[in-house]
Subunit: 219 residues, 2 copies
Amino acid sequence: MKRIAVIGLGNFGFYLGRELTRQGFDVLGLDVRKEVVQHAKNDIAVAVTADATQKENLLDLGVAEADVAVVTIGTNMLASILSTFLLKEIGVRNVYAKALSEEHERILRRVGADQILFPEKDLALSLARRLANPNMLEYLPFIGDHGIFEVEAPPAFVGKTLRELDLINRFGTQVLAVRQARSDTLTFIPKADFVIRPADVLILLAPNQAMAQLNKAAQ
Amino acid sequence: MKRIAVIGLGNFGFYLGRELTRQGFDVLGLDVRKEVVQHAKNDIAVAVTADATQKENLLDLGVAEADVAVVTIGTNMLASILSTFLLKEIGVRNVYAKALSEEHERILRRVGADQILFPEKDLALSLARRLANPNMLEYLPFIGDHGIFEVEAPPAFVGKTLRELDLINRFGTQVLAVRQARSDTLTFIPKADFVIRPADVLILLAPNQAMAQLNKAAQ
Ligand SMILES: Nc1ncnc2c1ncn2[C@@H]1O[C@H](COP(=O)(O)OP(=O)(O)OP(=O)(O)O)[C@@H](O)[C@H]1O
Ligand SMILES: Nc1ncnc2c1ncn2[C@@H]1O[C@H](COP(=O)(O)OP(=O)(O)OP(=O)(O)O)[C@@H](O)[C@H]1O
């Protein structure tokens, strides 16, 4: 089970920590403000009052063992940069950091952030698309039971046609598109006689549990 | 062409106004700070320095004629509430407003906001899902050419089977799921003999231009 450190429990950190806790992750939340930590204790697996720009604090709390750390500190740009830098220094493999501006984003990448999060920019682009395409879905309505997945074609599938693989009947899975590595093309709604090639990436509509079954069958 | 008023040109307002301008909308951006407006002038159709909590300003600038207004004012909760209230008062049909907290969200709805935007909460939930399902796609890779659309079944389709409608060959469109109004069920990957009922909502993977063709053919 993944250990996730959430640095800063403002809106973004709180909702993230709460949802990850609900999904069963081993979540450690840190915030320098005691009242914020108190408020988070009901919803986040472990919530601790600590200054995330102090290296000893991070080491004492075992943050170096986290699989992922997410720096959600907002208004204090220096704290955000320092914390990100220290998390990489103590060896956290995947550090996500929230940016307040494009300049902040560039600095965060420079100090080692693996992924940048920019809530305002993301929602702005998503809203603009929705206003331009009122009946286009941004988020999939397939939450819970089904999802759209991207998986590299397992070796056992290579050289077979979609008709032979019969994914619809065997796994209740529909192939929406195939991204072909060699030509970097995306083929939508491939036909039954489509042959899978090595390194093809399948974009599937499938029930969540089909992904586990598919992985087994592909071995 | 849609007229969109963007109130506040901080990160969220700026990226929204810029993307809408790129998509060809008639965008009016307002901000009380002159330097912010200056910075936005290159990217937003029209950007004006004005206090959006003053009703005369909104009326003088023709905001009442906007199809959609988006209040992106952040840290000043009172300004956000006042502006939202006034926009509904002058008759803007669709007012979206950014919330800073769940309490703020409730107040905004009470003063008439039609839709609430909560960038931090949205991205937190989306990131949590991505961490739980590393190969699940949150955003569709179908941007540009194809998209996933939700459309109410046109009357001409009712009573016909998917085989008869032959959407794949006629419009290059795949029916991913059907939401049946009467039973409020969502049927994934419907079979060829699935019969369309009145008020069924079709969830389609289709090229963007197929939507226009579909609308024509359905008349
Ligand atoms: N050095 C630090 N160590 C730990 N937490 C910190 C530190 N500095 C700031 N924080 C916390 O980070 C949290 C989020 O930061 P802040 O509120 O500045 O950003 P924000 O952009 O308003 O956040 P949000 O939009 O997520 O509410 C705050 O609760 C704050 O107490
Ligand atoms: N009464 C007002 N009329 C017009 N603009 C306003 C008014 N009050 C605030 N604004 C503007 O709204 C913009 C966004 O607000 P603010 O910066 O407080 O929020 P924010 O949450 O930091 O925004 P973002 O995250 O989008 O950068 C600012 O540029 C500010 O000048």
